[in-house]
Amino acid sequence: MAEPILALKNVTKHFGENTVLDDIDLSVHQGEVIVIVGPSGCGKSTLLRCVNALEPIQGGEIYLNDEKIDIKSKKLANLRQKIGMVFQSYELFPHLTVLENIVLAPTKVQKRKKEEVQQEALALLGRVGLLGKEGSYARQLSGGQKQRVAIVRALCMHPEILLFDEVTAALDPEMVREVLDVMLNLAAQGRTMIIVTHEMQFAKAVADRIIFLDGGKVLEDTKPEVFFEAPKTERARQFLSMFEFNVVKSQVEKVSS
């Protein structure tokens, strides 16, 4: 098998006494879509933040194409360009237009030509159904539109891997779909992605592999069919049963109303 794009080796992360990531091993190969699920507070966000060196790790190593990701490294900004990240809270820059948001890093960090980047940005905006919004400010957009811009902003850096941290969690239900569709499209294009989500149907549809994280450990690392039909661990069964309950509950509500 080819070398992985991203490799986490025995990664350990503490916040004070609290061990949030406990000896994590994880490899991601070119074109793979990994979905991380797990109960709230199990360390999913922290894992993504460590990959992007937004958090220092206390043990183990993280490699992107054989280059070690080190929070103190001079080349960190260089490595981060290759990792696109979209967060849960919309984090567009409020003083810049949509187009300026997208073009800033490619022109200032990668020193690419402004015209060329703008062309690409407009094409990408068209692909996510946002053509005509390039002159808008974040406050004029809906949550779903903001997240799609944030995705385009990450894509425009030509990252080798994309990280998504519950990007639909703060959205109104009717906007979740438009963002998930964009991500399904990216998966279909063969992008390498790590996705943290609570949308189980989406996870089933998009994932090549599901990682189940609990208590700072990888409890399951398997194909989605296996994870959703026959999870190995009791913890995973419990976790999945919560979602079944939610489905049942929402159906009951529908019937009774």
Partner: protein, 224 residues
Amino acid sequence: MLDLGLEVLSKGNNMLRLLGGLWVALKISLLSVGISIALGILLGALMTWKNPVTKAILRVYLEFIRIMPQLVLLFLVYFGTTKAFGWDLTGEMAAIIVFVLWGTAEMSDLVRGALISIPRHQYESSEALGLTREQIYFYIIIPQALRRLIPLSINLITRMIKTTSLILMIGVVEILKVAQQIIEANRMSSPNAAFGIYLTVFILYFIACWPISMIAKHLERKWR
């Protein structure tokens, strides 16, 4: 007819003298604000640092200046220093020193507030895009902080202009002092001049401050 004593204005160059007085007031406030903004940005940035000693010193300075009435500061600097250190400050110098002390304290607090009001995820999403520390400040943090700062510092300018009415107490001939002089000189011929002259002063203050606070309101709305 009601005699407001307005005819005194057209006597000699009285109107010009009033305008000259207004200019003294504006000059002192604008100069002080300019210096205060520069020093305030410096101190405000220092206040967001983690160092507890600098923080404590700046905090004490800020509280002290805030509590003290401006008039006391003016007397302290103008009369106090002459006696204590033998400095021979002009009234205008003393006024500028006091206004800079005051303005710097206020500005540094505004700058600190503007800087810490930028949410952490603005730094993080910039970092995630590979921007360097300097680029993050230059393209993301400072432009956003300035937008919050400019309307607030304009308000400071109008407060300073208003407060210049105190500096006649240390012998600076600004607009209010000129008004008193005119009224005094015409006490015999136009005993009603006080009303007309002070009304003019009132209108001149208004004309100087109103556009400034309109600009502030406009910017505040635009950058919300």
